[in-house]
Amino acid sequence: MKIKTLEEILKKKSSKTEFAILTNLENGDSEIYLPGTSPKGEFSKYADEIENFFKSKKNGVIENSEIFVETYIKPIKVIIVGAVHIAQYLVDFARSLNFEISIIDPRGYFASEQRFPEIKVINKWPKEAFEEIETNSSTALIALTHDPKIDDPALQYALKNKFYYIGALGSKKTHENRCQRLAEAGFTNDEINSIHGPIGIKLGGKSAPEIALSIIAQLVSETYKK
């Protein structure tokens, strides 16, 4: 690898631009590739394969070739509604798992920077908060307040915008009531059933870090199904 290529990689990394490093394992040539562009020179005939590595978020050697592809893909965006105790543990787990967290909570005493250093905390109601976050079908929502006034508008937004993971904290009873309200708001059964509620996989634990662990485990599992 040329020093020039290494410097370009470091620049792309620090600006969090998505890219791939293409390496010809036979002669050591390497190139930086940006998704959506045409690979240069000797790599050009593998354009489809390289694009597929991006789609599947994988690294590897292209079959029947000597070309290695290493992708740098942006973290998955996870929006947490409710700057509660569980959220503090979720933030810790998310940091090492390539999730980028934003927290929405209209209650100022919860959503303080002191409780969540280095995290984007939006101290607004969901409707206004979502105007500040770019979302798409690769976004996840974790609703933790179990207060319908705060959770429901966020859940409705996530359903309408087809988030790939939507989970809501609360007992079975709380979740039944929630489903009822969403049905009344005009959401279909399929949409309502796509919500993970009660949130998380069954671990048996009840403490805040244990609940956070069960939520993050479910999120990772759903992310790999995507």
């Binding site: 690898m1 050591g28 050697v61 290493e70």
Partner: protein, 109 residues
């Protein structure tokens, strides 16, 4: 999910180069069966044999370091090394997990 953006090994490689060291980059490019580090895992080695990062759970690092030193000595640009359980030398360094890995080493110049 690997967070490649947060991996610091390439930044460290640049620091070593800035300190006038010769640097070989080792990257896991293929794995078969159970292997401890996933494809894309990296390690750097300088001409003194100092290394940082990892390509396995400690099983083949020493062999990779000596391959990297030979690469610098012979002034070659790159080489692909496979570590298999059936391979005599790998058996010595011991890929105890029973997996197989291919590591690509290249000089940064």
């Amino acid at each position: 999910m690997k967070n490649s953006f947060d991996e610091k090994i390439l930044d460290e490689a640049k620091d070593w180069i800035n300190a006038n060291q010769k640097v070989v980059l080792a990257t896991v490019i293929q794995t078969w069966g159970s292997s401890p580090r996933q494809v894309g895992s990296r390690m750097i080695v300088n001409e003194k044999g100092d290394f940082s990062g990892s390509v396995s759970g400690g099983c083949v690092e020493s062999a990779v370091v000596s391959e990297c030193l030979s690469l610098i000595k012979d002034n070659k640009s790159c080489k692909k090394i496979e570590f298999k359980v059936s391979n005599e030398s790998a058996w010595e360094v011991g890929l105890a997990c029973g997996g197989e890995i291919a590591v690509y080493i290249e000089q940064i110049h």
